[in-house]
Amino acid sequence: MFNAEWSLVFFTLFSQFSLGLLLSSMVYRFFLSGTQPGLRTKLMSSSLFLSFLLMAVALVISFLHLASPLSSVYALSNLAHSWLSREIMMASLYAFLLFMLLLSHRFLTHNKTNLLMIAAGIAGIYLIYSMARLYMLPTVPPWNSLATLWAFYISAFVAGPSLFLALYHDSNQPQIVEQTNKAVKRIFSGIVFISIAAKVLLTFLANENAIENINIAFITEQPLQAALISHWLLVSVATIALILNLSIKKGHNTAKLYYLAFFSLVLAEIIYRIIFYASYFRIGL
């Protein structure tokens, strides 16, 4: 698996992180930014830029998976039956909308930006859906369940809000730290906690054959156990960092803890995604 699928690990993850960050930006913009117009502009610029950058890098990486990338011009030929065709279409549309959103944030009216944001959000949500569906092949039992869909959205909802929190606290000027919106901290931390809880639930509900079916030509049991332990340790570190930030007193800079949480979750998701690809097992030959 590993030679060909490294690029897919990062393509899928970066796309999901991008969507998570965009949706977090939307929640902040539409519901929480009313009392902080100056901060909103600065924060939107950085979060939209990062969201677009993640998706742009994801698209470039996706080409590394192709043995004949020049033939990718035909990739939208089978929208009727192929989820891969649909994923390619949505990835392109989502990236384009993010780019337009970046421009509109600078040059267009507030309302037009809002509309573009909603359109990009919908495109991104459907991108992740089509991404998950293409893996749900009837001939690959470990991937052919709702657990795949669940896992892909969880990746978006753990990384996006934690990165947004870090950007939020980084954007805050010291003199307004005391007026940091508690709601921002609580809502986005809450989204991350719920996603982590969903991840824990997924572990218990996931196809128990997935671990047994991992191709032992590539990975033996001990590295798998080590990978899983590392994954949960990193998730624990992120959870503790977020809890600390929630209990921390006003006036103290908490951006570092949010970045710690974000990078811990990113590493955890990379490990989990590698395990996902290693679980590939096809019925028959």
Binding site: H65, N78, W83, L84, T139, I283
Partner: protein, 205 residues
Amino acid sequence: MEQWAFYFDASQCSGCKTCQIACKDKHDLPVGLRWRNVYEIAGGSWLQKDNNWTSAIHSYNLSLACNHCEDPICMKKCPNKAIYKNDKGLVLIDEKRCMGCEYCKWACPYGALHLNSKTGKMTKCTLCADYLEQGKMPSCVSACPMRVLEAGPLEEMQKKHGNNNEIFPLPPANITRPALAVKPHKSASQSLQWQIINKEEVKDV
């Protein structure tokens, strides 16, 4: 539309792999790339009676390429529509359209698709479509010294040999409806823990 098919007699296959070599030679496939694989299947164990051990191991061979399925999952999944069926029902690849994403390989339960790393395109058994145009049989069929391989219209194969197309380790036929008729080895019906014992040999390099 006509549907061509392979027939394979697992009861007589010696596992010599002449079919595999003939295919490789005819298509000039590079090292590590095979369109036809011969799987060695074994099951059972040794039985002890007093101080003696008796073999209760059974084995047979399965020579398999592409089954040119009636409902090919590879064709449905290909985003580029690079995979198509011709008028003989053969599942073929338009290399100009193929981008080498290997999605078809992930989906195919028969392991029929292989990436040619030199050309960057997916490749597979073509049932020697060019030979069929000339009225000749595919090279694997002609080369087999045991005469366990045949090719012809599916209806003819099924009429002559029956319509069994499931034998371990093949998946359920209802997934892709393979154009294949198989005569199973006499031991294949036994409930043994069958397994492929030459996995490293048939793996793509």
